[in-house]
Symmetry: C2
Subunit: 489 residues, 2 copies
């Protein structure tokens, strides 16, 4: 029977949900915009079985995908496991077979060589399918309506790579899905590849490159011409995997790198280096301005990911781990590969940056992030990061104005997503959706805001009878994208 | 969209769940007995759509059936709506069409004459099917494994009655399902029928009878020869239905009746009367001793059901509404129809009495009830009845000993069910299962006890990530009963 570890990774705020569920016509406070016809998808790690290691990382849980289906002013909720190969093998065995996070040395011999992915990091509809992604594995395909799992894909043999990013960008100019894979020659290798998949699901670009050292290549940005990769000072080694230590560790002696690669592959990648380094995980956006490339993301002076410990054993520094929205800039016309131009562009600390996704790769004005309002009271259990994400902030990058909505003393907030009011609405004209989790009552609500009026509070709250586990990433898809492939340009 | 009434009937402790769900291999504390192979079923009212009336009674919610499937020391959880005709008609319409509790005058004209049942009161496996029952309607058939709904049945035309009790008894001597229906000539009529269905699903007995006045004929008891009906002083009238008042009201001027009917129909029913009256809703057990018939149930001096108001408008009296386990006795050899012999046989106030169901209709020793431990602290929102059901009590009727387990200051308890350790185990040798709901964290746990060692606390807790709504009744079924009809004797 399922005896989970009795430690903070699996209890309290981190309690499992493991719930495959349907609720028709969610209870709502306020009014859901009647014109919305589509779905908000998000995913959280939720171990199907007790882990082989009691200190198993949160990121090792099986992907549980939620769908909030909006139509005619109503919201239906559906939640299903991403039935990865790992999930199926373990369901058949009735127990965990795969071991520690990204450590194949810890697996049951019966699953040697099998895909270890959990599909727990991001979900996005492209070419009529829901893609469930985990950066250490191929792309898993699910049905956008039923959430039934089709299985892993190599895109008809056109993308035979072992790892597929969980942070793709859609270039709305071309309709292309832009992504990458890393560690493609096997665990801890430097081999990477940038690729693009058109709106019909056909792989149209593949550009190999290498990272300066093996690291976590978690997110990236696109511009009109470039794919831009942020490398924070995290490392790994077979030695630490053999000792069943965390896959990644923080090494402040490593530089921070920004890699800039022509999307058309006509030039080798160029790595810009910053020393001493800093940390930045998720990307808000990138864009070009003449020969300059701007790259916006929340960064911290020191390690921001407490679960990846310092190589020297220094304790996690909550103050130095706070991340602030920052613009890094490199000039492709410059001779130097030093990354020297960086400017803090946001005052509220936070993470999970989002934009109006139609602006990916373009000059843009509006961004949103989960933020820490440290001046507000909090009544729940402590959060695992630098604090509890208790607010959403809108960053108007044209005026510098920041507009904050605080969720209240009992609540945490998960990553938001933007929904345009109409396909041709101006940038930022639309809604923001985000799960708000009450840490005392253990109920979650999907809150819908006017995206440019966060301080007015939610215009509607679609209420769940359960508190969803802390999730990672998600996206909105109009219903028109559920099945029929969009026309490629 | 689903805007539910913002009142205590639909918020706080009474918040809806509306969740159709599956969890494979529930998280467990403790150890589930490995030999258990079967399922515990229970049901709660859970409105699919906001009610037509904001003060709608709890009992009017659509039946949501839970299945806790035990096998190999693991527990799977499944929950589905009983898809009654009402549920289907309303799902198609996207809103409530049926009106107030047992008041067809309040229905949308489009559903005039359709079966109003919600199948929300009890679930029990018989003849290879799960029967979902509501006393105002025919019997709904569901699949015992999948919880898929087949629909209403009249047992091959052999039981064409409009109403089928939610409190059947299984006579283990014959394998017969013993039940009854009331108001069979239409709402508020006195026509009733007692019936038996054999273990293969064939109707083998039908005995018509009449109640002294139209009332709520909610539960009953069987003995070897008799079916015994308790009538508490509740009444109804077309006048109150026309005014959309509660269907039942409490009238202390009415007598309490005990009706005793030969199961073989060889004699007319005999009504024993007690004045002044008292109230008793659910039956623990009944049995014969020579010419005497004993009938055990919790009774209160006054109305115990706060939602059925006093005809004279007197407020609900929490003290006089407390119910204590009581033995009523009548002598079938006596000339008098006065019911004069009654004896309190339990000290702990409570309701939801249960037995080892193999003892139904026989002299027995062990009973269990949900009880009120009024001396214990409580931290949650107030309960709607005379208090919050916070404990389980085992009544040893041979010794008079009562053994109490208190669930703690944040918890309420739902009706338990007994599971024999083995088919031929002695009476009481087995387990008790009951949902324990935390009213602060909003998590429920299915707790499993050694039935005769309640004070040792649960031997296992199967944990849900949600708090189930207050339920009504349920039963255990061994897996052998899921599909194949038992052999009739």
């Amino acid at each position: 029977m399922a005896h989970f570890p009795d430690n903070p990774g699996f209890t309290g705020l981190m309690r499992m949900v493991r719930l495959e569920a349907d609720i028709h016509d969610l209870e709502v406070e306020g009014e859901i915009p009647v014109a919305l016809d589509g779905a908000f998808y998000r995913v959280h790690p939720d171990p199907q079985f007790p882990p082989k290691y009691a200190d198993d990382q949160f990121f090792n849980g099986d992907g549980m995908v939620s769908q909030f289906r909006f139509k005619d002013g109503k919201v239906d909720w559906r939640q299903r496991y991403a039935q990865t190969d790992k999930w199926k093998l373990e369901r058949a065995a009735g127990k965990a077979l795969f071991g520690a996070y990204r450590n194949p040395l810890t697996d049951d011999p019966s699953v040697a060589g099998r895909i270890r992915g959990t599909a727990n990091t991001n979900v996005l509809v492209h070419a009529g399918k829901l893609l469930a992604m985990k950066e250490d594995s191929p792309c898993l395909i699910m049905d956008a309506e039923t959430l039934a799992t089709d299985g892993y894909t190599d895109f008809g043999g056109d993308l035979p790579i072992s790892a597929f990013t969980a942070h793709p960008k859609i270039d709305t100019e071309t309709g292309h899905f832009c992504g990458f894979g890393y560690a493609l020659d096997g665990p801890l290798t430097k081999a990477c590849e940038y690729f693009e998949i058109d709106a019909g699901g056909k792989v149209v670009r593949r550009v190999p490159f290498e990272v300066p050292h093996y690291t976590m290549l978690h997110d990236f940005g696109i511009t009109a011409d470039y794919a831009v990769f942020n490398v924070s000072p995290y490392m790994s080694s077979w030695e630490q995997l053999e000792k069943v230590e965390p896959h990644f560790k923080y090494d402040p002696a490593l530089p921070f790198y920004l890699g800039v690669l022509r999307r058309d592959g006509t030039a080798p990648i160029r790595w810009f280096k910053a020393e001493p380094s800093f940390c930045g995980c998720h990307v808000m956006n990138a864009f070009q301005d003449g020969t300059k490339v701007h790259f916006d993301l929340p960064v911290s002076k020191n390690n921001s990911l407490f679960f990846f410990p310092d190589v020297h054993g220094h304790p996690f520094d909550r103050e130095a781990g706070k991340t602030y929205l920052t613009r890094l800039t490199v000039d492709m016309a410059a001779n130097s590969d030093d990354l020297t131009e960086m400017q803090q562009i946001g005052a509220m600390p936070g993470e999970f940056p989002r934009i109006d996704d139609r602006m990916a790769g373009k000059p843009y004005r509006h961004g949103w992030m989960c933020t820490y309002a440290f001046d507000k009271p909090y009544e729940g259990p402590p959060g695992p990061f630098v604090g509890v994400i208790n607010s959403l902030t809108h960053f108007d990058l044209a005026t510098g104005k920041e507009t904050v909505w605080w969720a209240g003393p009992q609540c945490g907030i998960q990553e938001p997503a933007f929904i345009p009011r109409a396909p041709d609405a101006p940038e930022g004209d639309g809604y923001l959706v985000a799960l708000v989790d009450n840490h005392i009552t253990n109920y979650s609500e999907l809150c819908i805001f006017e995206a440019l009026k966060l301080d007015a509070g939610p215009i509607a709250r679609a209420k769940l009878p359960v508190r969803l586990r802390q999730g990672l990433h998600g996206n909105w898809a109009d219903a028109s994208r559920f099945h029929v492939a969009e026309e490629a340009e």
